[in-house]
């Protein structure tokens, strides 16, 4: 099943309105004006301006929120009895991510593997993921920090997306790439202003080809997994690579594929002192607290060791477990880093260093 | 170099203390300070309004201050300590927004937000001419004179409003007269009441209080008392006979305005200083100065390098 539609430039609000009417939450990129402006995904509502620019923050939020309540409890007491009411219903609602980029969408595929395909399925993740439809805008060109094509992706790669949207003159071509996407496109009423896209699909294909052609040639990083594993214990190498790292969490929190989390029980004082909650929030392996044990011992006290873990996880451990890198090449870790630490450079240096040995 | 300063003469300047006014104008003129009367000034409210109604009294002052603001003044000089006291009190009281609101009701126009600083003529001169600058301009030093300074009760008090140095022991006049060449005695009664306010209802009290001041000045072998207040001057000079009665002594103590003393030093002709208006004859002083001046080789105008 395949659906191809054309949406005229002025039809965006109409389509989004219709999507809202299906009872879904629409997460769309919104520009936040500031001296340094940013683009973030936010729930869209009628009349709200949106942008199709590549967002500053990926739409990971849709499946893995910054913080979610895994369970909450409330104690009810009276003179004779005490009861504890627990609520661990996942906080999930049908959602459309509208205007992701292929690298964002690829992130969902990366997250799916550990959360859904491993020995344990995460019910919270699943509840959200199953109800998610991803509309992805294909990219028109690469940029200095993009490197999706190093990792097998590309400006119109469909991995993780349900619908691909390509900008052509006068509007957008919408192409479903999954059944879920096709179903949703097919269910759109006329008010959504969607026209048949087949006649203009060629134009979309042209645009995509042009984007591919604009990319700089990608180096071969197939050997990265072995190379990185091979220099795991070469402390000097990692030290040199991480001199300037500040150990903040920008790289991981802006990454569409990072999924480490922390769980905090916050008991006292909530619910009028009668209850509490268990929170799951993003965590990041660049923080020294990430591996601090209850005893106070920390196996990764040094930022070099933490960077080694981050790079190894993305290019070595994860590929070993799942057959693909846990990196979509979106480049956000590079451009959002306060010291522009470049993971590409580290991977290339690792390959070179391993080769030298 | 001429500078122009806003000036509030007060009512006595046009009445019984015309000699104070004359000498003030003459001294300022000699120093190149031009005193500009603020337009359309009125009574400062000193008597009797301030005793009866502080708001009304303040309204009178504020109107004067407003006129000064309209004349673009940020500093206002007045010779009379009583005026000075009232103007400064009014400005201080206006800091209370409730007081200000009530005064505004009494006025045609609301009071300006910021008032000019009101200071005495004495301070006004001292701000522009320090002791050295003053000494440079002295033509006839008061060298032969031994003077006692008397500020009266109002000039320096209350300290938090008048801001006139040590409220019990102000020394500004001393420094100016010393610069004029005079020998100034440390006069302990310089801020003690002369009794002027009892001048009408309790003359005996006034005579006793004035007598004490005059007697001490005489005991300290002062040639003259130098004052800065029209009321003090009138009291100590005009009523000196009554005081003599009370003290059982003969004083013959000239009571000069500080501007008169300074005027003499600056070479202003006595006629322009209103010296002749003094009840106790001060010609002896003038003679002493003249004698000293002619005895010495006084520099001739223009001969200085």
């Amino acid at each position: 099943m395949n659906a191809i539609r054309f949406l005229p430039s002025d039809g965006l609000p109409a389509l989004l309105s219709c999507l809202v009417k299906t009872g879904r939450r629409i997460l769309a990129p919104v520009e936040k004006p500031a001296v340094k402006s940013s683009v973030v995904f936010e729930p869209w509502s009628e009349g709200k301006p949106l942008t199709l620019q590549k967002a500053t923050v990926p739409a990971k939020e849709a499946v893995l929120p910054q913080c979610e309540t895994l369970l909450s409890y409330r104690q009810t007491k009276n003179a004779d009895t005490a009861a504890l009411n627990l609520d661990d219903t996942p906080n999930a609602q049908p959602t459309v991510v509208f205007g992701a980029r292929p690298c964002d969408a690829c992130g969902y595929a990366v997250l799916d593997r550990p959360f859904l395909q491993g020995p344990f399925v995460d019910p919270y993740y699943r509840a959200r993921r199953e109800q998610l439809v991803v509309f992805t805008t294909t990219c028109g060109s690469g940029c200095a920090t993009c490197f999706c094509h190093w990792l097998g992706g590309g400006p119109s790669s469909p991995e993780g997306s349900d619908v691909l949207m390509t900008e052509i003159e006068g509007g957008l071509v919408l192409q479903s790439v999954t059944d879920k996407g096709a179903e949703l496109l097919n269910s759109m009423p006329p008010a959504a202003k969607l026209a048949d896209g087949a006649p203009v699909f060629r134009q979309a294909e042209e645009a995509r080809k042009k984007a591919w052609a604009s990319l700089l040639p990608a180096p071969d990083i197939k050997s990265a997994r072995q190379a990185i594993a091979g220099i795991f214990s070469d402390a000097n190498f990692w030290q040199e690579q991480t001199d300037r790292c500040l150990s903040c969490g920008a790289c991981t929190y802006f990454c569409p594929t990072c999924y480490c989390f922390n769980i905090t029980d916050e008991g006292d004082g909530y619910e009028g002192g009668q209850g509490g909650r268990r929170l799951r929030s993003w965590d990041n392996c660049m923080s020294s607290q990430f591996t601090r044990e209850a005893s106070g011992h920390n196996p990764r006290t040094d930022k070099a060791l933490r960077m080694r873990n981050r790079v190894s996880h993305k290019y070595s451990f994860y590929p070993e477990n799942w057959g693909a890198a846990s990196c979509s090449g979106c480049g956000r870790c590079v451009c959002n880093c306060p010291v522009y630490l470049d993971i590409r450079a580290i991977v290339l240096a690792a390959i070179k260093h391993a080769g030298d040995k | 170099m001429k500078t122009t300063v806003a000036y509030y003469p007060g009512c006595s300047a046009h009445g019984f203390s015309v000699d104070y006014e004359k000498s003030t104008q003459a001294v300022c003129g000699a120093l190149g300070i031009r005193l500009n009367d603020i337009p359309d000034w009125n009574c400062c409210g000193s008597t009797p309004a301030h005793a009866v109604d502080t708001e009304l009294s303040a309204a009178l002052c504020v109107r004067n201050l407003d006129n000064a603001v309209k004349a673009d003044a940020n500093e206002l000089l007045t010779p009379c300590p009583s005026c000075l006291s009232n103007l400064r009190h009014a400005a201080k009281r206006m800091e209370d927004p409730r007081f200000r609101a009530r005064v505004d009701e009494l006025l045609d126009n609301p009071a300006p937000a910021v008032f000019p600083e009101v200071i005495s003529v004495m301070q006004g001169i001292a701000r522009r001419f320090d002791a050295n600058a003053l000494a440079e301009r002295v033509k006839k030093p008061l060298k032969p004179l031994r003077l006692a300074t008397y500020y009266g009760c109002l000039m320096s008090r209350p300290a938090e409003i008048m801001d006139f140095g040590d409220p019990e022991n102000p020394t500004l006049m001393e420094s100016m007269l010393t610069a004029c060449g005079a020998e100034v005695v440390d006069f302990p009664l310089k801020t003690v009441c002369c009794g002027a306010s009892f001048g009408i209802p309790e003359r005996a009290v006034t005579a006793r209080l004035s007598g004490r001041i005059l007697a001490l000045a005489a005991d300290m072998r002062a040639d003259a008392l130098v004052v800065a207040c029209p009321l003090c001057q009138m009291n100590l000079d005009l009523r000196q006979k009554q005081a003599e009665h009370a003290a059982d002594a003969i004083f013959a103590m000239p009571v000069l305005y500080f501007t008169q003393a300074m005027g003499l030093a600056l070479g202003v002709p006595p006629g322009r200083l209103g010296i002749e208006k003094l009840r106790v004859n001060a010609n002896g002083l003038i003679d002493k100065i003249e004698a000293a001046a002619s005895g010495s080789t006084a520099p001739v105008e223009g001969s200085r390098p």
Partner: protein, 482 residues
């Protein structure tokens, strides 16, 4: 706990055990009738009251907070209230920048025998809070996004540092290198328009040094991590202030650091450059003349005049060359410092209290808690043990809500009170462009006003003002309870 609806507001009191708690007891013994709103938390000393307890209360539903301790000089612990006075005064003057009415917080001194005074204080403060009404809820205000006006005039001509003595610097570094662990400076990043910190360990590394308006990073941030090892550091004037502050706080020692001072002609505001270049672009070329930079990105040329695109701090900078250095490559510039309100703070000054709260709600909505702000801060030395995510003490919830995020920023600002040199790295590091520097600037301004123009990082021997006191504070005046 909910307040008695319609009757009471939520007023929290922190009372020292020795004087004010006793004063409140005495008022009770004297049956001095008081409003019932106040809830007293007993603490040993007013010095125990960390100002951020108060922020916590105010952000979480308190309508008023009152701190009361012993009269100055009566402290049971001799000096606790002296410290409290400084810290609480700074807090009081800081609160408005968050959009919180400072009248909702008060501190005072009540002795154990002053029952009547206590009654008067409680009654007056409660009435005051009632007059202000219920405090606005931070999560109930509409977000507001406003942009600071960055059109500024510099105190001195800004330039690109094209003629700086870079070769000489390299030579000097090479000469010193053998005795040093490394020398910290700048090198080119992933393109010509981005420089990144460089840690030179070999002469070859030294050749990578660059100098110019792209050298935005503050290398001082790395110094404490080298504690005990001798390192060199190349500094701009502003970076040197961070070094001085680190010295002031004994976080590094003077003999362990060699400062190479370069005369800075201004650095670029990469935030505004980024806006012009576009978010995801490729820089093709960078060309530099004496007063401007031309960057070609995605085939398009952009010319940036230094006078228009410098970092906010550069405009008011009067010390482009480090005052403290071991090797210096320029002469101090004679610039008279002018006290001007920095643009981020000027923006907040122009807003009403409710608007400020809306502003922060809008800004904090973007925050991901990546803590780049904290980690880029050269003065944040406890970062591995930051209270932001510890459970003991458990200052902050991990909830992704704007209030907690703003609370963290307040904590950071407070921990920097009297220590922040205004380098602006926190704001520069923020990937989503939250103007958090304004909070530090407000504290800086308050500190300057209260403590005789104290500026952090200018005198290695000065005591940071919140870590000391004067028995008689010049600029902190007790407020009467009239």
């Amino acid at each position: 706990m909910p307040v008695l609806e319609g009757k009471e507001l939520r007023i929290v009191g922190f009372l020292c055990n020795w004087c004010s708690y006793g004063g409140a007891d005495a008022a009770g013994v004297g049956r001095a009738v008081q409003p019932t709103d106040l809830r007293i938390i007993r603490v040993p000393c007013s010095g125990r009251v960390d100002p951020i307890f108060i922020v916590k209360a105010l952000l979480n539903g308190a309508d008023g907070v009152l701190v009361s301790g012993c009269h100055p000089r009566d402290c049971h612990y001799s000096a606790g209230n002296f410290y409290a006075r400084r810290r609480l005064e700074v807090l009081k003057q800081f609160l408005p920048v968050l959009g919180i009415d400072e009248a909702r917080f008060e501190y005072t001194w009540v002795g154990a025998s002053e029952a009547q005074l206590w009654q008067h204080v409680v009654t007056t403060f409660t009435n005051r809070v009632h007059a202000l009404g219920k405090a606005p809820r931070f999560d109930a205000v509409e977000p507001l996004l406003k942009i600071a006006d960055m059109a500024l005039t510099a105190l001195r001509p800004l330039g690109t540092g094209k003629n700086a003595a870079l070769p000489k610097l390299k030579e000097a570094i090479k000469a010193k290198l053998p005795e040093l662990e490394c020398v910290i400076g700048w090198q080119q990043g992933y393109d010509e328009a981005r420089t990144v910190p460089l840690f030179a360990r070999t002469p070859q590394d030294v050749d990578k040094f660059v100098w110019g308006p792209f050298n935005v990073n503050n290398p001082a941030v790395y110094l404490p991590t080298f504690r005990g090892k001798k390192v060199g550091i190349v500094v701009k004037g502003c970076d040197a202030r961070s070094v001085v502050e680190l010295l002031q706080e004994n976080l590094i020692s003077r003999e362990d650091v060699i400062l190479f001072a370069m005369p800075c002609e201004g650095t670029l505001d990469m935030a505004r450059i980024g806006e012009k270049l576009g978010r995801y672009t490729t820089v093709d070329a960078v060309v530099c003349d004496e007063a401007s930079i031309t960057i070609t990105a995605d085939g398009k040329e952009h010319r940036f005049c230094m006078a228009d695109f410098a970092q906010g701090k550069c405009y008011g900078c009067a010390t482009p060359l480090a005052a403290l250095s071991d090797v210096s490559f320029g002469a101090p510039v004679d610039v008279k410092p002018v006290s001007a309100t920095p643009p981020e703070l000027a923006l907040l000054d122009s807003l009403s209290l409710p608007e400020r709260m809306s502003f922060w709600r809008g800004q904090m909505g973007k925050c991901l808690r990546c803590y780049a702000c904290r980690n880029a801060c050269p003065m944040c030395v406890c970062r591995d043990y930051c209270v932001s995510d510890s459970r003991d003490p458990h200052w902050m919830s991990q909830l992704a809500d704007e209030r907690e995020k703003l609370f963290f920023q307040t904590v950071h600002a407070f921990h920097l009170a009297g220590r922040c040199t205004g380098c602006g790295e926190c704001q520069r590091a923020c990937p989503v462009g939250i103007p958090i520097l304004a909070l530090r600037q407000q504290i800086g301004r308050v500190i300057e006003q209260l403590f005789e123009s104290y500026k952090a990082g200018t005198d290695p021997a000065a005591a940071p003002p919140l870590l000391t006191y004067m028995p008689q504070e010049k600029n902190i005046h007790e407020r009467g309870w009239k």
